[in-house]
Amino acid sequence: MPVIDLANPTRFLAVVNRVLPWLIAATIVLFAVGLFGAMKAPDDYQQGATVKIMFLHVPAAWLGMFGWALMSIAALGTLVWRHPLADVAGKAAAPIGAAFTFICLVTGSLWGRPTWGTYWVWDARLTSMLVLLLLYFGVLALYWTAEEPGRGARAAAVLSLVGAVNLPVIKFSVDWWNTLHQPASVFRMGGSTIDPAILTPLLIMALAFTFLFVALHLAAMRNEILRRRVRNMRLIQAQELHA
């Protein structure tokens, strides 16, 4: 089946219904392997057992940013290509990305308390991540206030593209400013600085989080398509009652 066929919501729903159970199963297996690896991983010589929080914190941060990147691409799909599923994809990604960003902030601050001695500091990495969460809230507020889904989607698409300037700021905040948050240690020039014993479960957890995100996203897109159909049916019904 060519990819272009996925633009048809009915065919898309059929594909999602076929793929989703496998995706959920893969997510569960990956989480089982990843969590097992995380539990078996040695404690850090400085941080002790609190290093385990990283296995949730780092993937959540990546996926929080991935969510906004996805919304930006979907925004291009909405504004430029007028792809019929792009605004559904954007709308479905917003609450999931916000949730992952929130998990990142909460786990980070729980880790910060024993390690840094404070739940929160106003350094560049933490602040830019908080701004990302606020931007997610802004997009969600747009969806809540728009009466008509299409109009809200186009407004949110513009905001997604504007808000994308925050993504490189988050990524490079630890290089541009002197932050309490540690600099990049996984994806950096000259290879990772993390020991393989910890890096391997971290990457498996990142994969598990990504699968979780994709599964949640596809399910949310399916729900949104069905929700719009229900809305259209109600509108038609109301018109018939009126006539």
């Binding site: 504004l79 602040t127 701004v131 606020l134 931007l135 809230f137 802004g138 507020a141 747009l142 206030t145 728009a146 109009r151 809200g152 186009r154 407004a155 698409a157 513009v158 905001l159 593209l161 504007v162 808000g163 700021v169």
Partner: protein, 222 residues
């Protein structure tokens, strides 16, 4: 008369005459600054230390408050539709409107900032630096706010939604504005880097703001 000049003069006249809210922002700014010492107590040393921050926050809120009017009245009486069909590219006419908006609401804030600085125990010779940072930074607030105003008018919503959309995007302006003001007044960090970044933010938003706002209007009002 070129369309640019005609639009600029029209918007400025509308803002300055009866029913326009040009000086309302400055008045709001004055009141916010007056309220602050009531909230934190008349400790002059403390006021001097946080004075620049209060002035910047007050200017941010005052410029936010005026944004509602940027497109809403034009949308109500239909002149926004004329602008969208007019000879000027929509990006340019929006930028013109934003410039007129800044001249009537942003510039008054800059002008009264030295006076308000004195009320917050900022030394007289330092108030000029403070006003300079506001002069460099408030255009960015207007041009970033432009995007929020366009989104809000496309959805026929305003008020709090506008604040929720715009405020997160203005964080860098606030950071570098206050950094520049503090560098000039308190030191010891140099004034140059944060101030030039502040100017860069204003220039970048001058380009990007109208493009994004025009996209929002085109897709929202079609």
């Amino acid at each position: 008369m070129t369309p640019f000049r005609a639009l600029l003069l029209r918007d400025m006249r509308l803002a300055l005459r009866v029913g326009g809210g040009a000086l309302m922002g400055a008045l709001f700014f004055l009141i916010v600054v007056t309220m602050t010492p009531f909230a934190i107590g008349p400790d002059l040393a403390l006021l001097a230390r946080i004075g620049p921050a209060i002035l910047w926050l007050g200017a941010l809120l005052a410029s936010l408050l005026a944004l509602d009017r940027l497109f809403a009245t034009d949308h109500e009486d239909g002149s926004l539709d004329l602008l969208m069909m007019g000879p000027l590219p929509l990006e340019l006419s929006i930028a013109t409107k934003a410039i007129a908006h800044w001249l009537t609401t942003g510039l008054p804030l800059v002008v009264i900032a030295p006076l308000l600085g004195l009320m917050l125990n900022v030394e007289l010779r330092n108030t000029g630096w403070l006003a300079l940072t506001l002069l460099a930074g408030t255009p960015a607030l207007t041009f970033i706010g432009l995007i929020g105003a366009a989104l809000a008018v496309a959805l026929r919503r305003g008020g709090l939604l506008l604040a929720v959309l715009v405020l997160p995007l203005t964080v860098p302006v606030l950071i570098f504005g206050i950094a520049a003001a503090n560098a000039a007044i308190i030191g010891p960090t140099p004034f140059g880097p944060p101030f030039t970044i502040l100017c860069a933010l204003s220039l970048a938003s001058l380009v990007l703001g109208p493009i994004a706002a025009a996209a929002a209007l085109r897709h929202g009002l079609e």
